[in-house]
């Protein structure tokens, strides 16, 4: 402002006092119950192993962790507030961005929630393409996890191997949607474009070659004594704790709970494919590593089946109130022109109500809860983030362990801070 004063557009009403003094600042109290022997350190927020900007306030007795307090919010961007200001079809672009490792999962959960509310079902070809893209996204997400976790535990070469394969997945994203990362490929009502013959050929070649790469990772890590020392028996999470703490995804399956939304609450035609859920009983970091490696193999199996059985037909619902008409129709049909105009000036309005749709992402249950008040913008969009919930088990796993084990624990939680903070 010209006069240099800074004012809010609206002064918020006086708020009720917090029952406790605002306390995210860290105890600098010298009279800590542990006396002088307890050392409180800040783990992060700019530590390279924290996958973004996670800050953990850790109390150490010698090298033993006695308390862990995650401090989050450094990447908060107000995504849910932004979504309320966008039209229903525009929200897809923000679902790409909050969890930058699993854009397609979040596209899908949002699209499923909107379709559920409107009551449409996408054609079989779109469903199969959604499955293919989701499993590719799982591979690229796990590649980042494996690469960075390996890097942190001393296997520096893992990062280069994993980024090599991830790049192939990004090439596939680019081929089918035009974008490498924030694809916005899956949209309410279908997908943004049909698969090109070149995409199908590239994808088929990738699926054939990829299992060899998984063998390479396993050669490097699975029997590697250093890697096993750093992960076996580290970060133990019992089955009861995993359930109590609401863990999902590899965190839950690594603790011996056979729960996978693709099997237990199938969406987008997952029930048609033959695959196994990866479950390990050990509950430690190594078990979670095994779960994710197995998921990579199962992902290639699913993609192969989906490619082989890819049905023909349209990739979008035939609903002019929801999706624009094809370009050719605009030249000849008045009605198409009206629909086009209405969609691009006003958008569509799902009926009043709410719906929740969840998908099994690389991190766990990523869901989307939407509330419609019958207008062309959402009343509320809530992203149920698996990372946000999974991160809360950090303290349970780290207590009593060494501070160096924290690296392995944070690594195998695989929390994406953009998704935690939204």
């Amino acid at each position: 402002m010209a006069d240099g004063t800074k004012t809010r557009l609206s002064e918020p009403a006086a708020e009720p006092a917090s029952p406790q003094p605002s306390g995210m600042t860290i105890s600098r109290d010298p009279a800590h119950e542990g006396g002088d022997t307890i050392l409180t350190i800040n783990f992060g927020p700019h530590h390279p192993s924290t996958h973004g900007v996670l800050r953990l306030v850790v109390d150490l007795d010698g090298e033993v962790v006695t308390r862990v307090k995650p401090v989050i919010g450094y990447l908060h961007t107000g995504i849910e507030k932004t979504a309320e200001a966008l039209r229903w079809q525009q929200v897809v672009t923000v679902t790409d961005r909050h969890d930058y490792l699993s854009p397609l999962f979040n596209n899908l959960s949002y699209a499923l929630a909107v379709e559920k509310l409107i009551g449409v079902e996408v054609p079989p070809r779109a469903q199969a393409l959604r499955v293919i893209m989701n499993e590719l996204c799982r591979i690229s997400s796990h590649m980042i996890w494996l690469g960075t976790s390996g890097l942190e535990m001393g296997a520096i070469s893992m990062l280069w191997y994993c980024l090599r394969e991830r790049d192939k997945v990004l090439d596939l994203n680019e081929e089918i949607s035009g974008f490498r990362m924030h694809t916005s490929y899956i949209r309410p009502g279908g997908v943004s474009a049909d698969a090109t013959p070149r995409f199908l050929e590239m994808c088929s070649r990738f699926v054939d070659e990829y299992p060899k790469s998984i063998d390479e990772y396993e050669d490097l890590l699975s029997e590697n004594p250093i890697f096993k020392l750093r992960t076996q028996g580290i970060g133990y999470l019992s089955q009861e704790d995993a359930l109590r703490l609401g863990q999902t995804g590899p965190m839950l399956r690594g603790s011996g709970v056979d729960w996978d939304l693709r099997k237990n609450a199938p969406y987008s035609g997952y029930e048609k494919y033959d695959f196994e859920t990866a479950v390990e009983d050990a509950g430690d970091c190594y078990a979670r590593y095994r779960v994710r490696i197995k998921e990579l193999r199962e992902a290639t199996r699913i993609i192969r089946q989906a490619l082989d059985t890819l049905p023909d037909g349209p990739v979008n619902v035939d609903d002019r109130k929801m999706l624009p008409p094809p370009r050719e129709e605009l030249d000849t049909s008045m009605e198409a022109l009206i629909h086009h105009f209405k969609l691009f000036t006003e958008g569509y309005s799902p009926p009043v109500g709410d719906s929740y749709a969840a998908v099994e992402s690389g991190h766990g249950e990523n869901g989307c809860y939407i509330v419609s008040d019958g207008t062309h913008k959402p009343r509320r969009v809530k992203f149920r983030s698996a990372s946000f919930v999974n991160l809360q088990s950090t303290e349970r796993m780290a207590l009593g362990g060494m501070v160096a084990d924290m690296i392995a624990i944070i690594g195998t939680i695989d929390a994406v801070m953009g998704d935690v903070d939204r």
Partner: protein
Amino acid sequence: MTLASIATETGVSAGDQWVTVPAAQIREAITAARAEGYDFFGFITCVDHLGRDDGGRPPYSGAGEAESPRFEIVYQLRDLSRRRQLRIRAFLPPQDPVIDSVHDFYGPANWDEREVWDLFGVRFQGHPELTRILLPDDWVGHPLRRDFPVGGDPVDFSQEHEEWQTAPRRA
């Protein structure tokens, strides 16, 4: 007490089962839901119904609630063994919205309740540490309320807008 005896209204929205319970009885409702098998946590969130055409009263809200509820607290729960979901709703008034905390039933409810406090200003009675979680401690207001404008916070630039748009003066 069964959930059905507490609920003021039940229904299905887009295929999702839901029940509305009085906000004062949320702990009884959660206890009953857990006894019925819904012991796996989905999420807790809030919806601000400010300024709805129907006077702030959503069409699916239950009877016996406050005069004009504004905040709707949503509990999404899951039953892993029977593979079903349940949504519990509770409505709160516009002034000083308070509801009992359920952090001792579900571990992750701790952070979700802090998030709702942070972004909506709904207090959870009995929460061990109800502080801001996503926003800075000194933030004023609760940005996911519908009367908090998008872009309502001034951004500090190192130079004033007018200055950097004009060409630099020649020496």
